[in-house]
Symmetry: C2
Subunit: 484 residues, 2 copies
């Protein structure tokens, strides 16, 4: 039963399990106590800290264990902001950070701080120049992930750290997605990570704060973990986290090469076997085990559900698979297609056969979903048969296509997709375009948030001219001119 | 090797270990995901929540799992204060709360809130009337522990909850020490507890917030655990915590009766075999497994060290055993002796022989420590032999006893204990008193913080008249009149 969502949480590594079980007997007492049981617990904690610090690339006394990666992020950002309060309250983050970073940033802004979001290019990557431009004399902190959690793009952390160092601004790095593969390069100041991402147990985060970085822990004082992570240390889990980090690092180079080949296979094959697919994220500077693509004219929720029925567990940034009903902020920031979005992140040890089978199943499922929705599929590829199906239940019911005179006097076709969810507005647009002459304009009325991202993305994929959007009663009108 | 510090952290319960191991395979995925592994994790989490809620006595949707008991306390107090911000910013706590509560209260005060500390009697117990008197129209929250962690005294939670209910103020209960023994009675509003106190794993706290209580989680928003505990849930540990809580509850009544007998034995025997000992805390309304006593003329650090060498692990509120070099805030609030303080908290399953042996070892060790310090030990009991030892290294070196005319013209003896640590000032006082006529006054100059608590406590134990303190160069003068 292939689990392809390691970026969300990795299965427990055998070394983590072993270390956890071995330390349950010795790691339950309070390491702050001086008696025998406390001393034993302290020894375990100290050894785990040394091992984890070596893997992070910091001194043991720079490293605290927190109760989760989220706690490490919150504590790291707030502690740094507070420690540099005298400098100012300006925070710089990238637009594609993990939600724990963006939520911290939003809270900081709500509390009166100021915030700059650095944009990314279509691969999801920031530029060091953009960070340089965003830094101000009152910038207290800059934050940048080591690698993006949704599309796998590696960020230029070392370069951005250098830019920050030159400006005297500390750099916070969320290393959650990359720490299994190696230490974060460059002169970062604060670093956060999460053990369950590398096969360690849940309940353990890492927070490294370099010596010399001004840091003022927030919340009620607590003497544990340098005051940076209140609460009784979970020592067996910490021991397991450190042991498994060492273990995955020992096999990281070989496993990265192996998984990179499997991901390359997916990247190459998915565009061959599935028509109208967009592979997103940097094709080269990326995590070895993660690939993300979006399938035009596909309902993400149905696709994930069908993949689950076929025993493949994957994740998605599509709007219809999230509780917010908006596409993921990462895909939005990148300006790429979000419908039918699938993130595949391979756990270590994934066999090649599972990947082969996944591609077969995906091909078949995408075709089936499109057929059901009556999507206008491209002529090439296995989906071609579905092209003129037209009998799907999805489109006919709500499609209202009407021609009217546009402002400029030219004929403009209106597609009323109000009240209809992704991918219907895009399907209706595509079908309408078939009946519009070159130079003609289709206006799609939609209230689904995904349309804002997916209609321009469709235009880019199809080489049609996106003219922009404007508000209308009950939603938004998106205008597209037929180019070819 | 008897471990008698269950109140600090209990050894892992066999049921916790079993449940932890059993759920490692099914509990590692993200319970927010809809695929197979996520659904399995969700099932485990839901079942654990139901079991824990039943043990707490609340609805499952009122209960959140946090990353530690400390986190539950911080989140519970801040969330309640923030939720009732419109009512006011007044917080009422007892003087003997756990440091996590008092630190939260101090942070609240530092941030501009107001704070009232309700005093306790000599047994460590608050009175509901005192809470009623402390509540104000702008009181946002009152906090009271279910049982004291240092002396075991049960608090009148149900009565205080009633007082609070009548005033429309929610009551936060820190139930960390008592939850193993039964649910907290009464109409509390918010409750916090910690799994490693009942033999569950570290890394799991409980936070219950009754429906209808205004609660605004603090910190960056996070969708997990009703927004009250950010971070990825540690499901195997949560499952183990819930399972072990059920297990300890199933045996709670019988085990409480058995341990209560052992504690009664300690309470009765310690005053027989160790002269000049004060058993502190409520003798009846108390936790079944915990007893605390203080031994006059004993250096707590040495005593704990010697007990550890004899393989008994206990805790202490003595100043010389803490990093702050002040007696515990609980003993200070109670106004009882702190020197030679020992807290014994028996884990479930403690055999009676271990307790018998502890009493033997304790008797011998206290005598040895006193002999070494040259303490003026009472005539009765095994310590009597040490009475006129006088050759101890502790006192002679620094004791400077000088007679001078006091303000009132009567002769006043001064003992200069400046620069000397507990228990030396009290030993020097006791020795000086032997040479003072009835009606005479001894003035002890000391800069050790413990003297402020222990000199009045000595007077109470010895039935001498404590006249008060006043500042002197480099410390404080404590004046005592000989009564008999």
């Amino acid at each position: 039963m292939p689990y392809f969502d390691a970026a969300s949480s990795a299965p427990l590594h055998p070394v983590a399990r072993q270390a956890l079980q071995a330390s349950l007997d010795e790691g339950w007492a309070d390491p702050a106590r001086l008696y025998r049981e406390g001393r034993r617990a302290r020894l375990l904690l100290d050894a785990a800290r040394e091992a984890a610090a070596e893997a992070v690339g910091c001194r043991p006394d720079e490293l605290s264990f927190t109760g989760s990666g989220t706690q490490a992020v919150h504590s790291g950002i707030y502690g740094s902001l507070s420690g540099r309060r005298r400098v100012g309250r300006h925070l710089v983050v990238s637009a594609v950070e993990h939600s724990s970073v963006l939520h911290s940033a939003a809270s900081h802004e709500a509390a009166g701080g100021s915030l700059a979001e650095v944009a990314v290019d279509r691969t999801g990557r920031v530029s060091p120049d953009a960070y340089a431009a965003a830094l101000r004399p009152d910038t207290a902190l800059a934050a940048l992930q080591s690698a993006n959690h949704e599309v796998g793009t590696l960020q230029p952390v070392a370069e951005v750290a250098e830019v920050c160092r030159a400006a005297g601004v500390p750099l916070f790095v969320d290393a959650a997605q990359s720490l299994a593969w190696g230490p974060v390069e460059g002169a970062w100041s604060i670093l956060a990570a999460s053990a369950h991402k590398w096969g360690g147990p849940a309940g353990v985060g890492l927070l490294a704060v370099r010596k010399g970085v001004r840091f003022a822990p927030q919340g009620p004082p607590d003497e544990r973990e340098s005051g940076r992570a209140p609460g009784f240390e979970n020592i067996p889990a910490i021991v397991a986290a450190a042991a498994s980090l060492r273990a995955v690092r020992a096999e990281a180079e070989a496993e990265a090469a192996r998984l990179r080949e499997l991901v390359d296979l997916i990247r190459a094959r998915v565009v061959e076997v599935v028509p109208d697919v967009e592979v997103v994220g940097d094709p080269v500077r990326r995590l070895p085990h993660l690939v993300t693509f979006s399938c035009l004219y596909v309902d993400g929720e149905t696709l994930l559900h069908e993949l689950d029925r076929a025993e493949f567990s994957v994740s998605s940034g599509s709007s219809c698979t999230s509780s917010t009903l908006t596409p993921s902020h990462v895909l939005r920031a990148m300006g790429v297609l979000s419908e039918g979005n699938v993130r595949v992140s391979l756990p270590i040890g994934t066999p090649a056969e599972d990947v082969e089978r996944f591609l077969d199943v995906l091909t078949w499922l995408v075709t089936a979903v499109r057929t059901k929705l009556g999507a206008p599929v491209a002529a090439s590829g296995p989906g071609a048969a579905a092209r003129d199906a037209g009998t799907g239940s999805g489109v006919e019911a709500g499609a209202g296509i009407a021609a009217e005179a546009s402002d400029a006097g030219a004929e403009e076709f209106t597609v009323d997709s109000l009240g209809r969810l992704c991918p219907i507005p895009v399907i209706e647009l595509a079908r309408a375009m078939e009946g519009v002459p070159v130079g003609g304009v289709v206006r799609v009325l939609a209230d689904d948030e995904a349309a804002r991202l997916d209609i321009p993305a469709w235009c880019e994929m199809r080489d049609q001219e996106y003219l922009g959007e404007h508000p209308v009663d009950g939603g938004t009108a998106y205008r597209v001119r037929r180019r070819s």
